[in-house]
C-alpha cells in the first residue's frame, strides 16, 4: 500500500474539506428559522395536505384549487376577526410517511391554525396522529375509511380535534341504494379496483341494497397495477344487470367505461364519483346508455352550489367534478365558519362549536354526529348529495328529485 506523505493538514484534507462543505451546506441550504417565513402576524393559515405528485396528483390538485377558492371567498367576506386567511400546502405524494412529515412541517414551521386533509385513508390516519399530538383541528374531506371515526370514538380525548366532512362508506352505500331503489333497479353489477375501500363499499352496498330487494348479479375487481378490463367488462355485461356500478374514482374508470361501452352499448352505468365527473372525459365516452355520476354537490342543486361552480369555472377554466374539489371547499368553509362562531382559533374552543353547530356549505348544512362524522344520507336534515346524468350538453341532476 502507498505510504501517506505530507503534512497532517494535507493528509487529512478530505476530512477538513468534508467538514467545511457540510457546515456550509447546513447553514446555507436550509430555510431560515420559523417565524422569518413570509407570514404576517395578522394572517391566519390553514394547512392543506393533499397529493400533488405521484399517482393521485389529479385528485390532489383539484383539492388544493378548491381550498384556495374557499379562502378567497372567506377573505372576500372580510376574513376572520379582521385577519386574512391563507393556506399553506403540503404535498403528501400519496405516502403516509411524507404526509406525516408534511403535517409536521405545516404545524411546526408554517404555524397553521387548522388542518384540512388528507386525500388517501392511510395518509389521513397518519396526519391525524400529528394533529392529535399538536392539538390542531383537522377536517377530513375525502378519506372514507371507518378507521378515522372509530379512532375518535375509542379515544375521544386524544382524537377529538378530528372531524370528517365527507361521507363515510355506509353513508355512501345508503345514498347509492336509495338511488337504485328510485330507479327501480333489481340487479346491479359492482366493479372497481381491487383496493380496500372499493371492496368495502361493495360489501356495504349489498347490506343496504338487499333489504330493498336489490341484489348484485356480479361483482369483480381488477388489479390497479395491470387492470384486466376486458374480462371484467365482458363478464359484467354477460350477467345482465340493470346497471353497472363503477367504484373506481381514478383514470381507470374512463378506460373501463370505454371498454364496457364497446361490449354493452345499452347498459346504464353509475360512477361513484371522481374522474367521470369531469365534463371533458364524459364527452369522450359514448352516451348510448345513461352514465350517472354521484357527487357531493352539483350546479343547480342550490344557489350556493351554483355560485361555487361558476367561481370555480371562472378561476380554473374547468368545472369541478363534485367530489375531490367540492368536499375540500366545504371543509375549509366549515373551518372558517367554526372559527368565526367560536371567536377564536384555539382548538379546544373550536371543537365544541363544531360538535354542536350547523355550518352551511355548498353541499348543504353540515352537522356532525357524536363520532364527528358529518351527517350524510337519506334521513331528515342529512346532506343528500347529488346524482347527475351526462347528456350531450352537460349534466342534469336526476337524484334526489327536486
Amino acid at each position: 500500500m502507498t505510504v501517506n506523505r505530507g503534512s497532517p493538514f494535507r493528509r487529512h484534507r478530505p476530512l477538513f474539506g468534508t467538514a467545511a462543505l457540510a457546515l456550509s451546506l447546513f447553514f446555507s441550504a436550509f430555510p431560515p428559522a420559523p417565524g422569518a417565513a413570509a407570514e404576517l402576524p395578522d394572517t391566519l393559515t390553514i394547512g392543506v395536505l393533499a397529493p400533488l405528485s405521484g399517482p393521485y396528483a389529479a385528485g390532489g390538485t383539484s383539492f388544493v384549487q378548491a381550498a384556495t377558492l374557499a379562502v378567497e371567498q372567506a377573505n372576500a367576506e372580510g376574513g376572520v376577526f379582521g385577519r386574512r386567511v391563507t393556506i399553506a400546502v403540503g404535498d403528501t405524494q400519496g405516502r403516509v410517511d411524507v404526509a406525516k412529515s408534511e403535517a409536521l412541517r405545516l404545524v411546526s414551521r408554517e404555524k397553521v391554525s387548522g388542518l384540512v386533509g388528507a386525500y388517501l385513508s392511510e395518509e389521513t390516519v397518519g396526519v391525524m396522529e400529528v394533529a392529535a399530538a399538536h392539538r390542531k383541528v383537522l377536517l377530513v374531506p375525502v378519506a372514507a375509511t371507518a378507521e378515522i371515526t372509530d379512532l375518535v370514538r375509542r379515544e375521544y380525548a386524544r382524537y377529538r380535534y378530528v372531524f370528517r366532512v365527507g361521507y363515510s362508506l355506509p353513508q355512501w352505500a345508503e345514498m347509492i341504494a336509495a338511488f337504485l331503489s328510485d330507479r327501480k333497479v333489481r340487479r346491479y353489477a359492482f366493479v372497481g379496483a381491487g383496493i380496500r375501500w372499493n371492496l368495502e363499499l361493495g360489501e356495504t352496498l349489498e347490506r343496504f341494497a338487499v333489504p330493498k330487494g336489490i341484489s348484485p348479479s356480479y361483482s369483480a375487481w381488477y388489479s390497479p397495477g395491470n387492470p384486466a378490463f376486458d374480462t371484467v367488462a365482458v363478464a359484467a355485461a354477460a350477467s345482465s344487470p340493470d346497471i353497472v356500478i363503477l367504484a373506481d374514482p381514478g383514470r381507470n374508470s374512463v378506460s373501463f367505461l370505454k371498454r364496457l361501452r364497446e361490449s354493452a352499448p345499452a347498459l346504464p352505468v353509475l360512477s361513484v364519483g371522481g374522474a367521470l365527473g369531469d365534463a371533458r372525459l364524459a364527452a369522450s365516452v359514448p352516451l348510448s346508455a345513461p352514465v350517472y355520476v354521484q357527487a357531493a354537490a352539483w350546479r343547480g342543486v342550490s344557489t350556493a352550489a351554483t355560485a361555487y361552480v361558476d367561481r370555480y369555472e371562472r378561476r380554473y377554466g374547468a368545472t369541478p367534478v363534485g367530489y375531490s374539489d367540492t368536499l375540500p371547499y366545504d371543509a375549509v368553509t366549515v373551518l372558517v365558519a367554526a372559527w368565526r362562531k367560536a371567536g377564536t382559533v384555539e382548538s379546544d374552543a373550536v371543537v365544541p362549536v363544531l360538535e354542536r353547530g350547523t355550518f352551511p356549505g355548498v353541499a348543504g348544512e353540515y352537522r356532525f354526529d357524536p363520532d364527528h362524522q358529518a351527517r350524510w344520507g337519506t334521513g331528515p336534515g342529512a346532506l343528500r348529495g347529488s346524482i347527475v346524468r351526462w347528456e350531450p350538453g352537460g349534466a342534469r341532476i336526476v337524484y334526489p328529485p327536486r
Binding site: 441550504a29 410517511d97 412529515s101 414551521r109 390516519v125 396522529e129 375501500w197 368495502e200
Partner: protein, 356 residues
Amino acid sequence: MRGSFPFRAAKVSLRGGTPPARSPWRGGGWPAAGIGLLLLFPLSSPDAFLLDVFTTGFLLAAFAASWDVVGGVSGQITLGHALPFGVAAYACALLTTLAGWPLPLAVAAAVLLAAAAGLGIGALSAPLAGPFVALLTLALGEIAHEAAVGHTFFSGPGGYAWGGEGGIPVALPWRDAAPFPSYYAALAFLCLASFGMLRFSRSGAGLILRAVEGSPITALASGVPVARFKRMAFAVGSAFAGAAGAGFVVHVGRATATDLSLELSFQAATFAAVGGRGTIVGPVVAALVLHVLFRALSLPPSARVLLYALTLLVVLRFFPGGVAGTARDLASRRAGKEGGRPPRPGGRNRNGDEAP
C-alpha cells in the same frame, strides 16, 4: 484467503481500497466527520420537521446500503429490494396489532422473516445472471406489492376492514415518538448497520462475492460454491433491508403497500447508482443527501420532482460510476501516481473485463 485463488489476484483486490485485515475505518476521515456533524446537528435546535426528515433519511440510507450489499458487492442487480423491506414492515405491523406481540420481539421476528425472504429470493435467482436476476426480483417484488394491496382483512380488531392499500398500523408502546430520541436511534442504527455491512463487504465472504461477480466461471472452476455465496449475499442484504423496514415502520407507525412498491425498489438502485455501486458508503451518503435536500427545501411539488430528475441526470452523466465510485477512482489514481504504481482500473467494460 487471498492466495488461494488461481485467477488474477488483481481482480480480487481491492475495489474497496483496503486489505481485509485492516479496520474499515482506515481512510475513514470522511465518514467520521459526517457522523460527528450529524451527532451535533440537533444541538442547533432545528424544528421537529427537520429532525423527522433526517430520521427517515437515516433509515432510507440504511436501506440503500443494504441494496448495495446485494447489487454492488455481490453484483446481483435486484429491482425488488423493497420486498424484504416491506415484509419486515408488514410483519412488525401484523405481529403487534393482530397477534399482540411486544414490539422488540416483533422487530426481531420481522428481521428474521426478511432474511428468510432474501434467502428464498437468492435461491431462485442464483441460477440466473444479469438482467434475468433483475427481472425475477422485479416480478417477485411486484407480486408482493399486489398481494399487499389486494389482500383485505374484513374482520380486523376495529370492526372495519384492514389491510389493502390502507395498510396496517403498528401497535407502539408510545403515543407520539419524541423527535430527538428517534433521530439518535435512527442515526445509531444507520452507523451500526453501515459498519456491519462494510465489515461484511471487506470480509472474506465479501471478497469472494466480488470475485464471483467478476468472473463466475472462474470462481466455479476454483471450487467456490457460487450459489451458496449468492444466497448469502441476498440473505445478508435482505436482513439489513428488513431491519431498515422495521425501523421505518416503527417510526411512521403504519405499514402500507408503498413499502413494497416498485418505486421504493428503484429508489434504492438510484441511490446506489448516484452514490457509487459497491462502495456501501456511497449509497448511504447519496440517500441521505438527496432525501434531506429534497424534503427539507420546501419546493413546490412540480419543481421538486423536476429538480430531482435533473440532479440525477446530471450526476449520472458526469459521474457515471457514482460520486463515491468516481472519488475512489480518483484517489486510487492519485495514490498510484504518488507511489509510482500503475493506475488502478476504474471500471469495467461490457464483457466484464477491466478497462484498459
